[in-house]
Amino acid sequence: MNRRDWLSRALATAGVLTLAACQRAEQAGQRLLVSAEELTRRAQRLIIPREALAPEYDISEISDDFRANGSINPAAADYVALRDAGFADYRLEIGGLVERPLSLSLAELRARPSRTQITKHDCVEGWTSIGQWSGAKLADLLDEAGLKPEAKYIVFYCFDALTQTETGPRYYESIDLIDAYHPQTILAYDMNGETLPVPHGAPLRLRVERQLGYKHAKYIRRIEAVESFDHIAGGKGGYWPDRGYEWYAGI
C-alpha cells in the first residue's frame, strides 16, 4: 500500500466516522429539542391547578365563521352509513381498563349530566374561533365505567381518516387523567345551541379546553382507558403526535 492509497483510505474512514458522528449528534440534538416539551408540560402541571378553568366567553362573542379544520366530511363507509341514518344507530363504546364497559346511544348520553360552555378554540396554526359547546361530562362517564387503577390515559378513536380513504390511518388522540377529569372536558353533541354539525365532528367530539385544537378529537367512535400508548398506531398517543407534533398541546 503506497502513501496515496493509505491517505485516501484514511480520509474515507475519517469521512465515514464524521458522518456517523454527525448523524448521532443530529439525533441527540433532536432529542434535546423535544425535551423542552416535557419541561413545558411539567411546568404547566406545576403552576396550573388541576381544576383551573379555561376562560369562558359571552354569547355575543361566538364566532359566526367558526372554522372547520382537518376532516370535515369523513368518507369511511361505517361513518357514512351512520350519518345517513341520522346517527340513530350510533353507540359510543367505552372500554379498555375499565370495570364496566359501556355502550351508550346518543339519547342515553344526553340523559347523563351535561355541561355547556362558551370557549375559544386555538388551532395550532394560530387562529382562534369561539363556540358554545354542550355535552356529557367525561369524568361522569369514566366514573360510571369505573377506571381500573392501571389506567393512565384516555384514548379517543375516531371515524375519520385525513387521507379521505377507507384504509388511511384513522384519527385518534389521547389525554391524561388530569385533563380527562377536568370539569370542562366534555363529549360535545351540541354546538352553538344546535346538534353538532358534521364538519365539526358529529355526532360527538371531545372538548378539552386547556389544549390546542388537534386534541379535540372529532367523530369519536370508541373510548379506551389504557396504561400506555406504545402499542397504538405510531406510539406517540395521537395522529398528529405520531407526525411530530407535541402530545402535550397546552402551549
Binding site: 379555561a54 362573542e61 372554522r67 407534533y245 407535541e246
Partner: protein, 263 residues
C-alpha cells in the same frame, strides 16, 4: 464617572490585580474593562435564542400568515395578511410547523432562563442602575445627543466609558419592555396558561390581539437588531466585538479625532 472611579480603584494589596482596572495603551488610548463574563455569556446566548426564535417563529407564522385584533379570528377581515414567507428566513428550512414549534419552545426556555439570570445579576449587583438607568442629566442631554448621532458623531474619551442617553433608553426599553413582552404575549397564547392567566389574556385584548402583539414585539426586536448591528459595525466592529468577547474595550482619546480632522 463615579462608576469609573470605583472600577479603576487601585489594586488591593495582597490580592491579584483587579481585572476592572484600565490598561494604558500607546497613543493615549486606554483599554478598559467593560463587560463582566456573565453579561457576555448571556448576551451571546440571547443572540442565539433570539435568532432561532425569530426564524422558527416565522415558520410558525407561515402556518396561518394572517393577523387579527381581538378575541378571535375574523377570517374574512385580517388586519394584515402576509404572502409566502421565504425559506431562507425560516427554521427549519421549508414549512414544518411541528419542528418549528420544537425549536421555538426549546429556545423560549433558553431565552427565559438566560433573561432571568441576567436580570437578577443586573439588579443584585446594581449594575443595571449604574450602567443602564438614565440619569436626570442624561435625559436633559437627549436632544443634543440625538443631533450628534444624526451626524454620526459618537462619544470619544471618557464619554465613551458610559452608555449615552440614547443607548441607555434603547437598552432599558428592550430589556424591560420589548423582550419581556415576547414572553408575556407568548404565554397569553397558551390555552393551558390561560386557565390561570386569564387576566393577562384580557389585558392583551384577547387571543388574537396577543398573537398580533407577539408579532409586533418581534418586529421591534428585528428593527433593534438591524440598528444595533449597524452601529456596532459603524463604531468599530473589531473593538466592539472584542469587548463583547473578552470584556476589554479600547477608548480613543478625543485629541486623535481632532488631529485626524486637521490633517
Amino acid at each position: 464617572m463615579t462608576e469609573f472611579a470605583a472600577e479603576a480603584s487601585p489594586v488591593t494589596p495582597g490580592r491579584s490585580p483587579v481585572r476592572h482596572a484600565d490598561r494604558p495603551l500607546p497613543g493615549g488610548r486606554t483599554d478598559t474593562y467593560r463587560h463582566p463574563p456573565l453579561v457576555r455569556i448571556s448576551h451571546w446566548l440571547n443572540v442565539i435564542a433570539v435568532v432561532v426564535l425569530i426564524m422558527s417563529g416565522l415558520n410558525i407564522l407561515a402556518a396561518h400568515p394572517q393577523l387579527y385584533w381581538g378575541l378571535r379570528s375574523t377570517f374574512d377581515d385580517p388586519w394584515v395578511a402576509f404572502g409566502t414567507i421565504p425559506n431562507w428566513v425560516m427554521l427549519p428550512q421549508g414549512r414544518n410547523l411541528a419542528e418549528a414549534r420544537h425549536w421555538h419552545f426549546f429556545f423560549a426556555w433558553v431565552f427565559v432562563i438566560n433573561g432571568l439570570i441576567y436580570l437578577a445579576y443586573g439588579f443584585v449587583t446594581r449594575r443595571f442602575g449604574r450602567r443602564l438607568w438614565p440619569t436626570g442629566a442624561d435625559l436633559k442631554g437627549f436632544w443634543p445627543s440625538v443631533k450628534e448621532h444624526a451626524r454620526f458623531h459618537f462619544p470619544k474619551d471618557d464619554e465613551a466609558r458610559t452608555y449615552n442617553v440614547i443607548q441607555k433608553l434603547t437598552y432599558v426599553t428592550m430589556i424591560l419592555v420589548v423582550l419581556p413582552m415576547m414572553l408575556i404575549t407568548g404565554l397569553s397564547m397558551s390555552p393551558g396558561f390561560n386557565a390561570i392567566g386569564g387576566i393577562l389574556l384580557d389585558l392583551m385584548g384577547g387571543r388574537q390581539s396577543a398573537r398580533t402583539l407577539h408579532f409586533i414585539s418581534a418586529a421591534l426586536i428585528v428593527g433593534f437588531i438591524v440598528i444595533h448591528v449597524g452601529l456596532v459595525i459603524w463604531t468599530g466592529l473589531y473593538n466592539n466585538m472584542r469587548a463583547m468577547i473578552t470584556g476589554w474595550f479600547v477608548i480613543e482619546p478625543s485629541t486623535r479625532k481632532d488631529e485626524g480632522g486637521a490633517s
